[in-house]
């Protein structure tokens, strides 16, 4: 009988532990689900810096060309664009490819500022301010154009690729 009574102790301890665990579990769930954002992939801003850098470099490279060399921009585009963005780019660039050499047009695109609108998992939306300077036969063709784009990017294998381009 005394041994049977002794069993109450381990049962008591077990019951206590289960109660603590059951209590902590929903609190954890609530902490995680608190607020609307689900930006779990952001690790102290590293992803933010990565995506901003990758997208800025990509945009300035794919939208810069000289009459003699349009293909570098196109090759870069094949690497950094995917989905709808790639399709859009091919349409625009078919025209560029025909006209740039004949009209001796060069375009330089510089990203002046870029920021993150949202970053959820492996998908980011960015706002990018860029300046485009065109030259025709080596002479400036008008003043630099200020443009702004909203860009959607997706991360595969640690690299951010642009999936959607929209002029804001």
């Amino acid at each position: 009988m005394s041994r049977l009574l002794g069993l109450y102790k381990p049962f008591g301890v077990a019951l206590g532990l289960v109660l603590v665990a059951l209590l902590l579990h929903p609190i954890a769930g609530r902490l995680r689900d608190d607020g609307t954002p689900r930006d779990r992939a952001v690790l102290d801003g590293v992803a933010t810096t990565d995506v901003t850098g990758d997208v800025s470099t990509a945009l300035s490279r794919i939208f810069s060309y000289t009459p003699a060399d349009v293909s570098t921009a196109q090759r870069t585009a094949a690497d950094v664009l995917t989905g709808a963005a790639a399709q859009q780019y091919r349409q625009i660039f078919a025209q560029v490819q025909r006209q740039a050499p004949a009209q001796r047009v060069a375009l330089t695109t510089r990203v002046t500022r870029a920021g993150v609108i949202s970053l959820v998992g492996d998908t980011a939306r960015l706002l990018v301010f860029l300046d485009q300077t065109a030259t025709r036969a080596g002479r400036p063709d008008g003043t630099p154009a200020a443009a702004q784009l909203t860009v959607t990017a997706h991360r595969d294998d640690g690299h951010w690729r642009i999936t959607e381009l929209k002029s804001a």
Partner: protein, 170 residues
């Protein structure tokens, strides 16, 4: 007696399982509470919201009610920008009343370009469309690319600087 032994063993097993479950749940709770990434994105959302509201406020002014307008401006700002507005208040009020313009704004897009949670500073980009209506004239709409800085204050994130985003070589 062997029956009691079996019971004791079962109890011990249950205690071990309960301990493991508790440890798992405890760890679960701990990581959720200390999820830095999650906190960072929440801060970014807060900054973005304050930036949009702040720029919206500072791009809105009606000559018929300049006082309320400028009070909102002061309320949306901190630091240097706040001081500039406070200092230029009287002169600006006269100008706007004389020009009799109504300015409204629509935020097109906004994004966070820098965020330092520790020091409570952030930089933002805001694309805004402002419409200025002169007395009896046709409204003039203009798109602006703005760059702003925000600082964390006890009253939330507020604009400490706002200007045109630089173009060209700067």
């Amino acid at each position: 007696m062997p029956e009691t032994d079996a019971l004791q063993r079962t109890a011990a097993c249950l205690a071990v399982l309960a301990a493991l479950f508790a440890a798992w749940a405890g760890q679960n709770w701990y990581t959720a509470a200390h999820d830095g990434a999650h906190a960072y994105s929440r801060t970014r959302d807060a900054v973005l919201q304050s930036a949009e509201q702040g720029v919206q406020n500072l791009s809105t002014l009606d000559y018929r009610d300049v006082d309320t307008g400028l009070a909102t401006w002061l309320d949306s700002t901190t630091g240097d920008l706040h001081q500039q507005i406070a200092q230029g208040r009287t002169g600006f009020t006269d100008q706007v009343r004389k020009a009799r313009t109504v300015t409204t704004a629509k935020i097109l897009d906004a994004a966070v370009s820098e965020l330092d949670e520790r020091s409570g500073k952030a930089s933002v980009l805001v694309a805004v469309e402002t419409t200025v209506t002169p007395p009896g004239g046709t409204p003039v709409t203009k798109q602006n690319r703005l760059e702003g800085r925000l600082a964390r204050t006890p009253g939330g994130w507020k604009l400490s600087d706002l200007g045109q985003a630089p173009a060209g070589t700067t």
